[in-house]
Amino acid sequence: MSSKVALTGNEALAQAMRQINPDVVAAYPITPQTAMVQTFSQFVADGEVDTEYVTVESEHSAMSATVGASAAGSRAMTATAANGLALMWEILYIASGTRLPIVMPVVNRALSGPINIHCDHSDAMGARDSGWIQLYAENAQEAYDNAIQAIRISEHKDVLLPTMVNLDGFITSHAVESLEILADEDVKEFVGEYQPENYLLNADNPIAIGPLDLQDFYFEHKMQQAVAMGDAKQVILDIAKEYKELTAREYGFFESYKLDDAEVAIVALNSTAGTAKAAVNNLREAGVKAGLLKIRVYRPFPAEEIADALKDIKAVAVLDRAESFSTNGGPVFADIRSVLYDIKANVEVVDYIYGLGGRDIKVEEIESIFNDLQEIIKTGQVENRITHFGVRQ
């Protein structure tokens, strides 16, 4: 039996971690993730989990200890945000390159400097090419559901890649929402026992992990990762299907919201998708065929599926909550525009870099973006390919 509870996003993720009951958690607190590992450490202190909790001196150490624990053969988790993720950078690649199925909630926050503790996606977007699967969540419920599914996705024998479970800093991590928490025994059964094939503490089958890998084989190992990332797509769908049987909640690569007959559409990640839905509803009432594509799985990037979903839209605005400083738009924009090029779709795509450092985006502001899209359709002209939305002149 699941139960309806009111929790912050951080508390919801701490509950997910309690129910997953990992063998090892090595974590370092950082705003806005702190409450997650703090709450979880209380579960450890109260004996509610069997987890060995490693208090470390930095995020570099947190990820290193998690890698060590995972390589040893245990189910290992950590969590972080922003500069903490940045400090993990080196070890992120070691985790994915060593094919360790670590699951890590990332509470998305702006990277310093100037120092800022509020929501944007510059942390996770910077790590988008680190070989980690990346899941994004509109709200606490989705973040909770993603965390539980991520264990199965990462540990699947066709995948064996780590997963970042992203949620928006403060907006999702600190707001109290009503959500459904599964029964402990249901999560236990769903995630199952972690049974690694090769691990360091198996005395019957001694192996070496992390040896030097030079010109002769490194490339082949990167190819294996690329193949696993591709194979993860089917695994993600299969596990979502299984999860739906348990919860009746449906997950895929993305959510199409009123997209089928839409002429103008927005692509967004995380909590802004909720705001965008309200804008879509208002515009639909006013007779505008507006829609939303909310990306859940950003890595692997569901290119063909997104292309198919957007192919009949006339104008698309991508909302990027990160500035890549490429001078050619944000990271999501680059990916979306690329897939539409492949199918030679007759659709204009524009980029709105927004909300950096936690600046709010409001329903009426998203409506104004839809108005811009309608103007593009009407005139056939794109005045601004890339807009830094709401920034003061």
Partner: protein, 94 residues
């Protein structure tokens, strides 16, 4: 056992080495520019070369240092010659 030239579908993922003790299969003798020659006439059987060799290439049988050096693995570092108290080991250009 992974062999040179194996494709990505045939090798363990993540660079794992699944065969224990396989370093013996990896022949490093080709790295050598000079090779140690042990003069048994001078050797006092102190075993310092045997103890210092980082590649276990100085062999000892029944408590006696052998002049049959493992050239499949000796990298020619010269530590043995440097440590020998009676200069019984000479490094000779390959």
């Amino acid at each position: 056992m992974v062999k040179p030239g194996d494709g990505y579908k045939d090798i363990p993922i993540g660079g794992l080495i699944l065969d224990a003790g396989n370093a013996k299969e990896y022949k490093t003798g080709g790295w050598r520019t000079k090779k140690p020659i042990l003069d048994k006439e001078k050797c006092i059987n102190c075993h310092l070369c045997w103890a210092f060799c980082p590649d276990i290439s100085i062999l000892s049988e029944d408590g006696v240092v052998s002049d049959q050096i493992d050239y499949d693995h000796c990298k020619g570092c010269g530590i043995c010659a440097n440590e020998c108290p009676v200069n019984a080991i000479e490094m000779v250009k390959e």
